[in-house]
C-alpha cells in the first residue's frame, strides 16, 4: 500500500499543467492586513494552480490564512500583490464554514435566489432547485425553513446553493468542520459523488488532515505567519475511499508529522 502514495516536494509553480488553462491560477499572491505602521503579512508569495476538474485540499494550522486565500479567489477581497485568475470566467462559488443560508427564505428559495441572480428564467428555477436538492439527497425539503433543518442538512442545502451558481470552480471553506464524525463521513461521500458527476474543480480548505486525504487528489500544506506553500502531496488512493482506510491513515500520519514540524518551527523563535 505504501506505493499508493506519491509525494512531491517541489514548489507548486513547477507542477502547473502545461496543457490548457488551469481552472484557478493563483500567481505570486501576497496579502497584508492593517495599515503600513502595524501591517501583518498573512499570505506571502502563494502560487498555486487548480486544474480543471481537480480536487485540491488546502491544509494549514488555524490562522494561517486559508480563509483569506479563499476570499481572494472568490473576489470578496483584493490581493496586496500578485494576481488571481479564473480563466473559465464567471464567479467562483463559495461555500462558507457556516452554512450562510438566508433564514428569511426556505431551502428551495435559497437555491432559487442563486439561480435568479445567475439569470435563470423564472419558469426553470423551481424544477432546477428541486433537481439540485435531490442531488444532495434532500428531496422533499424544498419548503423547509433553514431553522427546521439539521446542521448536516443545512450544509447540504448550502452545497446545492453553491452548485446552483453553475460555476466551474467550487471553493469550500471548512464546510464540514462543525459536524459530527458520522454526518461528516456521509457528506464526504456525497461530495465525492457530486464532484465526479459534475466535473467541477474544487478548492477545499480544512485543518483536518484525514479529511484532506479522504477527499483530495492533491493536498497542499500552507505554513503559518506568513502563509506560504510548504509542501504538496498527490493522493493516488482510488475513490471511493473511506476515512478509515489504511492508505488514508498512512498518508495522514506523514502529513501530520510535517504539519507538526511546521508548527514547532514557530515555537523556536
Amino acid at each position: 500500500m505504501a506505493t499508493a502514495v506519491r509525494t512531491t516536494e517541489q514548489h507548486s509553480a513547477d507542477t502547473a499543467v502545461a496543457d490548457g488553462a488551469p481552472a484557478v491560477r493563483i500567481d505570486h499572491v501576497h496579502k497584508v492586513f492593517g495599515r503600513p505602521g502595524s501591517a501583518q503579512a498573512v499570505l506571502d508569495d502563494i502560487t498555486l494552480d487548480v486544474r480543471p476538474g481537480e480536487f485540491v485540499c488546502l491544509l494549514g494550522a488555524s490562522g494561517c490564512g486559508k480563509s483569506t486565500l479563499l476570499n481572494l479567489v472568490a473576489g470578496l477581497d483584493r490581493p496586496t500583490a500578485g494576481t488571481i485568475t479564473v480563466p473559465g470566467g464567471g464567479r467562483p462559488a463559495l461555500m462558507f464554514q457556516e452554512h450562510a443560508l438566508f433564514p428569511w427564505l426556505t431551502a428551495g428559495k435559497n437555491i432559487e435566489l442563486a439561480l435568479r441572480l445567475r439569470g435563470v428564467p423564472r419558469a426553470e428555477r423551481r424544477p432546477e432547485a428541486e433537481r439540485l436538492l435531490s442531488l444532495v439527497r434532500l428531496d422533499g425539503s424544498y419548503g423547509k425553513r433553514v431553522h427546521e433543518l439539521s446542521g448536516g442538512m443545512r450544509q447540504r442545502v448550502a452545497l446545492a446553493r453553491a452548485l446552483a451558481q453553475d460555476s466551474n470552480v467550487l471553493l469550500m471553506d471548512e464546510p464540514f468542520a462543525a459536524l459530527d464524525a458520522i454526518t461528516r463521513d456521509v457528506l464526504h461521500g456525497e461530495l465525492t459523488r457530486i464532484w465526479a458527476e459534475t466535473g467541477v474543480s474544487v478548492l477545499f480548505v480544512t485543518h483536518n488532515v484525514r479529511e484532506a486525504v479522504r477527499l483530495a487528489e492533491r493536498v497542499v500544506l500552507l505554513t503559518s505567519r506568513p502563509g506560504r506553500v510548504a509542501r504538496e502531496w498527490a493522493v493516488d488512493i482510488p475513490q471511493p475511499r473511506r476515512i478509515e482506510d489504511a492508505a488514508v491513515a498512512e498518508l495522514s500520519i506523514e502529513i501530520t508529522e510535517e504539519l507538526r514540524g511546521e508548527i514547532r518551527r514557530h515555537g523556536q523563535h
Binding site: 435566489l113 441572480l117 456521509v186
Partner: protein, 302 residues
C-alpha cells in the same frame, strides 16, 4: 436520476454505498424537526386566560377601593359609572365617531411617517456622510417628547389637521428611521458576503439581501413608531382645540375634564389605552411574530 448511486465495480464498494445511503436516511430522520400546531384549547389557556384574569383583577381591586371609600366618588368613580358613560356614548352613536376620528388621523400620520422614515433610514444607514451629519440628531430626536412640538406646530400651521400630522411625523419618523438603521447595522456581514458571491450587489443586493435581512429591526421600529404616533396625536388633540378638528379621543378627554366628568375622564383614558393596544395586537404583533417565526427566532409555542 440523482438518487442512483455511482455504482463501483466491486460488490464491496456498492454495499458500502448503500450503507451510506441508509446511514444518511437515519441521520435525517433523527434530525427532522417536529412541527406541530398548538391545539386551540391550549392557545386559549396560554394566551387568552392570563390577560383576561389580569383585567378582571384590576376591576375587582378598583371596585373594592370604591367600596372601601378611599376617595370621594368625584375623584374615584365606580366601574359601573364608567360603564354607563360608555353606554351613553354608544347610544348617542358618538363612540365610534370619536374613536375613528383619532384612529384615522393616527394611521394616516403613521403611514406618512413610514413613507418618510424608511428612505431616510436607508440613506442614513448606507451613506457615511449623511450618517455622521444627521445620525446623532435622529437618535436625539427620539428622546424629545413630541408634545414639545405642539406649540410650534400650532403657530406654524394653525389649529388644523396639518398641525396634528406634523406632530405625529416628528414623533414617529425618527423611531422608524432608527429602527431601520439598527436593523441594517445588525445584518450579519456573512449574509452580505454570501450575497456577493451569489452575484447580489448594489440595488439587487439591497433588494434580495439587505432589506429582508434587516426586516426584524425595521418591524420593531414600526411598532415603536406606531406607539409614538398614537402618543403624539393624543397630546396634540388634548392641547389644540378647534371646532374644525372634530372630536377625537384626546379632545373627548379634555372636554370631560372641562365638565369635571370623572367617569368620562376614566372612559377616555381607558379608550386611548385600548385603541393603542388593539392596533398593536391586531397589526404589529402578528406581523412581527410571523417574521420572527419564519426565521426560527421564536419557538412556535410562544
Amino acid at each position: 436520476m440523482a438518487s442512483t448511486e455511482t455504482v463501483p465495480a466491486d460488490k464491496k464498494g456498492s454495499a458500502g454505498a448503500q450503507d451510506l445511503a441508509g446511514l444518511e436516511a437515519g441521520l435525517d430522520a433523527l434530525d427532522a424537526v417536529q412541527v406541530r400546531r398548538t391545539p386551540f384549547t391550549q392557545v386559549l389557556v396560554k394566551k387568552v386566560l392570563p390577560p383576561v384574569s389580569a383585567v378582571l383583577l384590576v376591576l375587582v381591586v378598583w371596585q373594592l377601593a370604591v367600596l372601601a371609600g378611599f376617595a370621594p366618588e368625584t375623584k374615584l368613580p365606580a366601574p359601573r359609572a364608567v360603564g354607563s358613560s360608555f353606554m351613553t356614548l354608544w347610544n348617542e352613536g358618538q363612540l365610534l365617531d370619536i374613536i375613528w376620528t383619532s384612529v384615522e388621523r393616527g394611521l394616516l400620520g403613521f403611514l406618512a411617517a413610514v413613507a418618510i422614515g424608511t428612505p431616510v433610514g436607508l440613506v442614513v444607514a448606507r451613506v457615511p456622510f449623511v450618517r455622521s451629519a444627521i445620525g446623532p440628531i435622529l437618535s436625539g430626536l427620539q428622546s424629545l417628547p413630541s408634545v414639545a412640538w405642539v406649540p410650534a406646530a400650532v403657530i406654524w400651521l394653525g389649529i388644523t389637521d396639518s398641525a396634528m400630522y406634523a406632530v405625529i411625523l416628528l414623533g414617529a419618523v425618527p423611531s422608524i428611521a432608527n429602527g431601520l438603521i439598527s436593523g441594517i447595522d445588525q445584518v450579519p456581514p456573512l449574509y452580505l458576503r454570501a450575497g456577493r458571491t451569489l452575484g447580489a450587489s448594489g440595488v439587487s443586493g439591497a433588494r434580495h439581501i439587505l432589506l429582508p435581512a434587516a426586516l426584524p429591526g425595521y418591524l420593531a421600529g414600526l411598532k415603536q413608531g406606531w406607539a409614538f404616533s398614537w402618543r403624539s396625536l393624543m397630546a396634540a388633540e388634548l392641547i389644540a382645540s378647534s371646532p374644525d378638528l372634530g372630536t377625537g379621543l384626546g379632545r373627548y378627554l379634555e372636554n370631560m375634564r372641562e365638565g369635571s366628568d370623572m367617569p368620562g375622564i376614566f372612559l377616555g383614558i381607558i379608550l386611548i389605552l385600548v385603541v393603542g393596544i388593539a392596533i398593536d395586537l391586531l397589526i404589529f404583533s402578528p406581523l412581527e411574530r410571523r417574521v420572527l417565526r419564519t426565521r426560527g427566532l421564536v419557538s412556535r409555542s410562544q
